[in-house]
């Protein structure tokens, strides 16, 4: 059930109406039912995967809870005998919990790995060893990368004692399957999301209006910018040999498309959750105002970044072997490098995983590594940079330096899109090379900017102006948000007549200015992850 379909809008309207009409104590059950209806609408066969992931992580949580509960009961017993055994029991419990978590992680990630990465492994084995292992036609379940990470985050939190295990399997099933977020995130945290799902919510017209504003803004970004920019991106990337020197413009189009598509989708998701009175974690915070790649990942796909930080980066950086490695580095390379190098390596590993998460292809892995290496090297060179800035009398508060940092980051990010968007790694390198060696703007000075297929989808400059104008609107909103202006709260204070004019303008701008859906575009990019 695509977010773009009529049935999805009807589904949301019915689920929201029912949510406030039924007794409040049943609201979370209502959400669970609708979440599973939504999930099953993509095919009954994919139900197995979410049930498996839910069952494995639920069972792991309950087992770890029982172990902890038994430990608490034992702690009340202060006899000398029990004190003697306490240490050995603690070790046994830790071992049991470790076994449970390892098994749960293996099963949960194992399923994801088999479904998503088997064919990638087979292709590479065949290429490497000349074997002829046949690819397997796996079903790719809706949102598997998102709910696997969300469920994994939960069991790790239980394991580390950051949250209590959920003992009600149905409540837990809702946490994993909550329908707005299942397709493209954000990756929710149990501690912030779960209690909201189970709470009773009363209808609030102001919250509803703000939620509808956010949904409309999401569709505005998706339909007008993302779907419009798609054609420019596709024209350049699909025929990069015909557009040899305009790879950069293709990648700029991709930048607009990806941001508008993903953040637009997330706006719709968060807006729908708000309709139920649920506040989800933000996934974007004006990423194109980032001053470094590290900052970019604090503003782009935030929930994936924080997931990686909490569940991968810290465990790696704080692990025993990394500690030993740090000591070794400090003894051989001095304090500065010795401290920075382990963090650099942890970052590269994290972004390697980010790349793999994005998809089973080398260009995604390179995309991840590219980001990891830049962040890693930035860390290593942090001290020299500080010294150079001091010598040149540059402070971070200098306006021109701030703008320079934003532009520099934007360029670095756009280079990374070559790897993200290309079908293959050689294509990405060819496009980057052609940009410098065969720079040619002439295709952009023809009557028709992009001619797709037999010419039936000709796109003229008018379409480009529409996309650019919509980008200007998004840019303005981003500037306001960057200045801590709550745009929706500001609008809601307007007189109703003014708001009505704005709403009507947006409602009609979407179909009027948006690109016609076609067989080529239309879906959300991150819905395929």
């Amino acid at each position: 059930m695509s977010f773009m379909s009529l049935i999805f809008l009807i589904f949301v309207a019915v689920s929201v109406a029912g949510y406030y009409l039924i007794p409040k104590k049943f609201q979370w059950i209502w959400l669970l039912i609708f979440s599973y209806i939504y999930y099953i609408s993509s095919g009954i066969r994919i139900l197995f995967f979410i049930l498996f992931s839910t069952a494995v992580t639920y069972a792991a949580g309950v087992l770890m809870h029982k172990i902890d509960a038994a430990a608490k009961a034992g702690a009340d017993d202060n006899s000398s005998d029990s004190r003697n055994n306490r240490e050995s029991e603690r070790k046994l419990r830790a071992k049991k919990k470790k076994t449970i978590i390892v098994l749960a992680l293996l099963l949960n990630f194992g399923m994801l790995a088999v479904i998503k990465y088997s064919n990638f492994a087979i292709t590479n084995i065949n290429m490497l060893f000349g074997s002829k292992i046949e690819a397997v036609d796996f079903l790719l379940p809706l949102g598997i990368s998102f709910y696997t990470f969300q469920a994994t985050g939960y069991i790790l939190d239980v394991y580390w004692g950051r949250c209590e295990a959920e003992l009600n399997p149905l409540r837990y099933a809702l946490f994993v399957s909550f329908f707005p977020q299942i397709m493209q995130g954000p990756i929710g945290r149990y501690s912030r999301l779960a209690h909201q799902l189970y709470e009773k919510h009363a209808f609030d017209p102001v919250r509803t209006e703000k939620a509808l504003m956010r949904i409309a803004y999401g569709y505005f970004k998706k339909i007008i910018i993302a779907d419009g920019a798609y054609y420019y991106m596709a024209a350049v990337f699909n025929s990069y040999a015909d557009y040899p020197g305009v790879g950069l413009l293709g990648v700029l189009a991709y930048s607009a498309e990806l941001y508008a598509d993903f953040s637009g989708g997330i706006d719709i998701v968060i807006g729908i959750a708000e309709l139920f009175g649920i506040t989800m974690d933000e996934n974007f915070r004006q990423p194109f105002f980032s001053i470094s790649i590290t900052d970019f990942w604090h503003r782009w796909h935030i929930t994936l970044g924080t997931w990686m930080k909490d569940y991968l980066f810290y465990p790696i950086s704080l692990s025993g072997w990394m500690g030993k490695f740090g000591k070794f580095c400090r003894s051989k390379m001095g304090k500065t490098i010795g401290r920075a190098l382990p963090i650099c390596i942890a970052n590269i590993i994290v972004f390697l995983v980010v790349g793999i998460w994005h998809g089973p292809a080398w260009h995604y892995i390179f995309y991840g590594l590219y980001n990891g290496i830049i962040i890693g090297i930035s860390g290593l060179l942090a001290k020299p940079f500080r010294n150079w800035k001091k010598a040149l009398h540059i402070t971070d508060k200098t306006r021109w330096f701030h703008i320079f940092q934003i532009v520099r980051t934007f360029i670095l990010v756009n280079i990374s899109w070559f790897f993200d968007c290309s079908d293959t790694l050689p294509q990405a390198f060819t496009m980057i090379r052609n940009f410098f060696t065969h720079f040619d703007f002439s295709p952009f000075f023809t009557e028709k900017l992009v001619v797709v297929g037999n010419g039936s989808l000709d796109i003229t400059f008018i379409n480009l102006y529409v996309v650019l104008a919509a980008c200007a609107v998004v840019f303005t909103v981003s500037v306001l948000r960057e200045r801590q202006v709550d745009v929706r709260s500001a609008i809601i204070r307007w007189p109703f007549a003014f708001r009505a004019v704005l709403y009507i303008a947006v409602i009609f701008a979407i179909p009027m200015l948006g690109h016609t859906p076609s067989v080529e575009g239309g879906g959300f990019i991150y819905a395929n992850f």
């Binding site: 379909s5 009529l6 017209p205 009505a500 009507i504 009609f508 179909p511 009027m512 076609s518």
Partner: protein
């Protein structure tokens, strides 16, 4: 803010949006052929109904079929962009008011491969259909899954045609529109007949670069599903069904011979298994019909009126010879 006040405001806003949408629909959406064909399906007298896509529309003359095959009347409901799902619901709509003696389904393999684009004609049949359970079912199966803009803002597929507003408004205020007239669809290139054929005169014809590829493994599931539903519906209603594929010019056939042969094999097998009569005129030798490109308006197989008349006479002969055994 009080909830009741908020809901009142929402209703006002919705009312304004509906008003604007209806005004834009009126101004931007022209009189479309689907409206005429649907009206024809629901009101004209016929006992043989022809369903299918653009080849059926231009290549089969219902008047000749009436004369040579079914005196009860023949209506040609074929139209470019009519996918099997549309044909199935058009047949269901026809059955509501007509006792059919025969259904001819023009099968175009290209429609089994391509995903329908949600363009101007995507919902035109559904929108033109009178309210009934068939329309509701059509809505459920075709419209619900479509892009919400297609249904909520029908004008949006015509949003680049503001220059035609005066023409559209004048057209919709005319008796030709109110009486389901044919004037709108007649020009120097083609005309629509009362019984639904688009007769192509020949002037202004273009040769398009038709590409025909057929691979059984790349066919979509949905067209097959609705074709099977159509077959089942005819069977349930006791209506004989004949499936045909109209011929393409010789040069097109020669260019894509292997694909055409593969299509013939696939649909012959399918129809045989279903017990349905199938005439693939690409695989039938027709000495009386010239398949030279000069008899077509393009190399995709849309015939000029003279060629379509000859072809329909041949079709009538085949139908007369097999009509009794059509649906087994």
């Amino acid at each position: 803010m009080r909830t009741s006040k908020w809901f009142c405001r929402v209703l006002v806003l919705l009312f304004i949006c509906i008003l604007i949408t209806n005004a834009l629909n009126y101004m931007l959406i022209p009189y479309m052929m689907e409206r005429y064909k649907l009206h024809g399906i629901e009101t004209r007298d016929y006992t043989t109904l022809i369903l299918g896509a653009s080849h059926g529309s231009s290549n089969i003359n219902p008047d000749i079929l009436r004369e040579k095959y079914d005196q009860g009347g023949v209506f040609n409901a074929c139209l470019g962009g009519e996918y099997p799902i549309d044909s199935y619901f058009l047949l269901r709509d026809a059955i509501r008011n007509h006792k059919l003696k025969h259904v001819i389904y023009e099968l175009d393999p290209a429609y089994w491969r391509t995903i329908p684009s949600e363009a101007q004609d995507y919902l035109a049949f559904e929108a033109s259909m009178s309210f009934s359970r068939v329309k509701l079912s059509y809505f459920r199966q075709k419209v619900l899954g479509s892009d919400f803009r297609t249904f909520l803002f029908p004008w949006y597929n015509f949003r680049d045609q503001f220059k035609k507003i005066t023409t559209n408004v004048a057209q919709k205020m005319s008796s030709n529109y109110k009486d389901y007239g044919l004037e709108t669809f007649s020009n120097s290139y083609q005309e629509l007949t009362e019984n639904g054929q688009i007769r192509i005169h020949g002037s202004g014809s273009t040769i398009t670069n038709a590409i025909f590829e057929f691979k059984a493994e790349s066919l979509r599931e949905e067209p097959r599903k609705y074709f099977l539903s159509l077959v089942q519906l005819c069977r349930d209603q006791g209506i004989p069904l004949t499936v045909i594929t109209t011929p393409v010019p010789k040069q097109t056939y020669d260019q894509y011979e292997s694909y055409y042969k593969a299509a013939t094999d696939y649909y012959t097998d399918l129809c045989k298994n279903l017990g349905v009569t199938y005439f693939d005129f690409n695989a039938i030798d027709m000495p009386d019909l010239s398949l030279d490109i000069s008899g077509f308006t393009d190399n995709e197989g849309h015939m000029l009126e003279a060629t379509s008349d000859t072809f329909t006479q041949i079709l009538a002969e085949y139908l007369n010879g097999t009509a009794g055994q059509a649906s087994s």
